[in-house]
């Protein structure tokens, strides 16, 4: 049953691009914002598409909503808030930085640092033979000192 529903819902989104996206009445900066926004908002019914590329009716509605809000002078943040209030963070392809996305956003940086430190330690370890002997010599001297 679920599969049936999903397949039916998905059919329109399989087709190609919708061109009707209308930027009439927007100035250059508004148009640029519009393009960025519709590329970063997810079409909920589609198979992983943004609302710019999808011609599902919902994507069309959402584009028009974005357009209306831009023309009404709302900021990007206001528009995104409007949509997340209704659909949740799922609509944002650019996940906001918050508690649950902490690992997502910091993960790569942490990994790079960790890996670089490990690589550095590894190259130091390959020189172990010499340092180990140095240590042993020190120990030896200590032992000798104690025995004195």
């Amino acid at each position: 049953m679920r599969t049936l529903f999903l397949l039916l819902a998905l059919l329109p989104s399989i087709a190609g691009a919708t061109m009707a996206a209308d930027v009439a009445g927007m100035d250059t900066s508004q148009e640029a914002r519009y393009r960025t926004l519709i590329h970063e908002l997810r079409c909920l019914v589609c198979q992983n598409q943004n609302i710019a590329d999808s011609d599902a009716p919902l994507a069309n509605d959402l584009r028009h909503q974005v357009r209306r809000q831009i023309l009404a002078g709302e900021s990007n943040q206001e528009i995104m808030d409007y949509l997340t209030q209704r659909y949740g963070d799922f609509v944002l392809y650019n996940p906001p930085f918050k508690m649950i996305t902490l690992l997502l956003w910091l993960g790569p940086a942490v990994l790079v640092l960790l890996a670089l430190v490990m690589a550095y330690l590894f190259t130091r370890r390959t020189r172990k033979p010499s340092t180990a002997t140095a240590l042993d010599e020190e120990k030896l001297r200590k032992l000798l000192d104690e025995n004195k």
Binding site: A17, R42, N48, T101, P108, A119
Partner: protein, 661 residues
């Protein structure tokens, strides 16, 4: 009858694959040379049986045998012949058969070319490949049999997904699978090394060409996939960070790391356990990709019809194969001690840093791809991770890699002198900086910082790669002697790095200077975009072999001259009733013009009214794929370097040494 034969061949292949696993394993355990010898014949028989099954499915498609459910679901009497053949891998079941057939091909190649290696190594490797075959054959026979019959037999088939009816789809999947599956050879050698406890320069030397070959196919597959998406999806993009793309990109990154760490292991005898781990990971990520795309755990543009039972099976198989490999690794790898010293500022040191960035890049892609799954599993809600995230994370990881590409080739093994390196790289540095400023200014009249930075990276890789060849050639007196005198391995490396630079340039220009416009035009009307005049000449109905289309005509003029007449289409495929946007692209090496047809905008939807069109001007678009082509060519040259063709004497020597060990 033919489908039954195919089915039977698969069952037989499963039986033979089991022999290919267990008899050599017994031979390795008991040191029984007769049991070891079974590996080769079993592997070859298994491969031929799978090829036969593949032939049977192809036959069913060619002759439109709709009593086979898979054929009925993915073909049609009107489907052109070439797509009937490629429809074999157009959906889940058949693409699995392609996978197994390609695995058979690689297995066959290993069994033929590695006859001169120590018998136990070859036998272990073939047994490992056999294990992978067993898994996939079982998967196919239990959950996804392409030969299942359908009753009653339909009069006509449902037709191939229109997205796949494209020349790109003819070769993209086989190439990509050659790459995915090809990493299984490096994986098999890695396991053989762990089992035998022998991992030396010779091991690295014979693993290298296999890995490079798999890598070059994967590069080709990904490049073709990108090109296909660009002109078929109709969205003007060439990379979407979709899970299906990430699934191929992750093993590519790790495979690239593997190629580089193999070089260190071969030349310096270092990073042994790390190289083995990468070999396991590259194939492990290929398996993971299979799971992600076919289980339905993640939403992707190109998801196969998913079924939880399939997901459970692949997950189980993946757990067994990788779990066993990693446990074996944990047990045996500590014994693969590397001898020798390593300093960071040396070629091997820089290659280690290269590995750090490549592996972290791969891990970050994995993190981004799986994060929504994690958040969902912890019941914290649903989030999406899309291109903005991946671009933000990938760029800072990628830039250092390209910088190092330029340095590493000039840095000698063991220990480098900074003053010498600076002297070597002074010229390329100056050229790259100058080119990064001058070229964009000359072409576009303005150069944002992002373009200069990206352009510098691209030119840097290009100039240093050229310098490397030049440095090698200068020693020779004549040009031909110079060209031939440079070893293929060096050619390969330099071309691949050159390709990386070309790719980086393409990406920089496309992402900074592309212009996109959605317009409404009535027939005869023109519009200007970046100095190009687009005249819309109207739309006519057109009948294709298995679709009806609205066939548009757009004439493009530049400086008053007609440069191209293109035909964007909107096709309605008759059998599936699916609408497809066929974008029209006119390209020169320096720019692409991309026209996609939208909907009719007049009320009566007549052909003579207004239409919506989407126009793109994309400078340097071709460089993105040209870069990939250079990398493929580089891989090809590197894989066929004479060094890898072991001389008989060297092998005899190696075999003797191994026997002593």
């Amino acid at each position: 009858m033919i489908p039954e034969l195919g089915h039977f061949a698969l069952v037989l292949a499963l039986g033979v694959a089991l022999i290919q696993v267990f008899v050599p394993a017994y031979g390795v355990w008991k040191r029984d040379p007769r049991a070891l010898a079974v590996a080769t014949s079993a592997a070859q028989t298994q491969a031929l049986l799978v090829f036969f099954a593949f032939g049977c499915l192809t036959w069913s498609f060619v002759y439109s045998d709709f009593s086979v459910a898979y054929v009925a679901a993915n073909s049609n009497l009107e489907l052109p012949m070439v797509y009937r053949v490629t429809a074999v891998w157009g959906a889940h079941e058949g693409s699995l058969l392609l996978w197994v057939a390609i695995l058979g091909g690689w297995t066959l190649a290993v069994s033929i070319f590695n006859r001169r290696l120590p018998a136990d190594i070859t036998a272990t490797a073939l047994a490992v490949l056999g294990t992978v075959s067993v898994g996939f054959l079982l998967f196919m026979l239990l959950t996804s049999n392409p030969f299942d019959r359908l009753f009653p037999v339909p009069l006509d088939g449902k037709d191939l997904n229109p997205l796949l009816q494209d020349p790109g789809m003819v070769i993209h999947p086989p190439m990509l699978y050659m790459g995915y599956v090809g990493f299984s050879v490096a994986f098999a050698f890695a396991i053989a090394a762990l089992v035998s406890g022998r991992l030396d320069s010779a091991w690295a030397r014979w693993t290298r060409p296999w890995t490079t070959t798999a890598w070059l196919f994967m590069t080709l597959g990904i490049t073709l996939g990108s090109w296909w998406a660009y002109h078929v999806l109709g969205w003007g993009g060439w990379w979407f960070w979709d899970p299906v793309e990430n699934a191929s990109f992750m093993p590519w990154l790790v495979g690239t790391a593997l190629i580089h760490s193999l070089a260190v292991t071969e030349k310096r005898g270092l990073l042994k356990s790390w190289t083995v781990l990468l070999a396991i990971l590259a194939f492990g990520l290929s398996l993971l990709g299979t799971f992600l795309v076919r289980s339905g755990v993640i939403v992707s543009v190109h998801a196969f019809a998913s079924d939880p039972a399939r997901g459970v099976f692949i997950l189980g198989f993946l757990t067994i194969i990788l779990g066993a490999s990693f446990l074996l690794y944990a047990w045996r790898a500590p014994k693969l001690a590397s001898e020798g010293e390593m300093t960071l500022f040396s070629r091997e040191g820089l290659l280690l840093i290269n590995n750090v960035f490549l592996v972290v890049a791969s891990a970050s892609v994995l993190l981004g791809t799986l994060y929504p799954l994690l958040v969902d599993a912890l019941a914290l809600g649903k989030i999406s991770v899309g291109p903005p995230y991946f671009n933000a994370v990938f760029l800072p990881l990628f830039a250092p890699l390209v910088l190092m590409v330029g340095v590493a080739a000039t840095v000698p093994w063991k220990r480098a002198k900074l003053s010498e390196i600076v002297r070597h790289l002074r010229m390329p540095l100056i050229i790259a900086i100058a080119a990064a400023i001058v070229v964009p200014l000359y072409i576009h009249g303005h150069a944002p910082v992002a373009v200069i930075a990206g352009g510098f990276l691209g030119f840097w890789a290009i100039v240093t790669a050229a310098q490397e060849i030049w440095r090698r050639m200068r020693a020779k007196t004549t040009l031909s002697a110079g060209l031939l005198g440079v070893p293929r391995g060096v050619w390969g490396m330099s071309l691949a790095h050159f390709g990386l630079g070309v790719w980086a340039l393409g990406v920089t220009f496309v992402s900074s200077y592309s212009v996109e416009k959605d317009v409404r035009l009535s027939p005869g009307q023109s519009i200007d975009l970046s100095g190009y005049e687009f005249r819309f000449d109207g739309v006519e109905p057109h009948v294709g072999p298995n679709y009806d289309s609205d066939y548009g005509t757009v004439t493009i003029e530049h400086h008053g001259e007609v440069v191209a007449t293109v035909h964007p289409e909107k096709r309605l495929y008759r059998a599936t009733q699916q609408m497809m946007t066929e974008a029209a692209v006119d390209h020169t090496p320096l720019r692409d013009i991309y026209v996609a047809l939208g909907e009719p905008l007049s009320e009566d939807a007549s052909h003579t009214g207004d239409w919506a069109l989407r126009l793109y001007y994309k400078p340097m678009m071709r460089l993105v794929w040209l870069g990939g082509a250079f990398m493929v060519l580089g891989g090809l040259l590197a894989a066929t370097d004479r060094r890898y063709r072991l001389t008989r004497a060297a092998e005899a020597n190696f075999a003797k040494n191994s026997a002593v060990v």
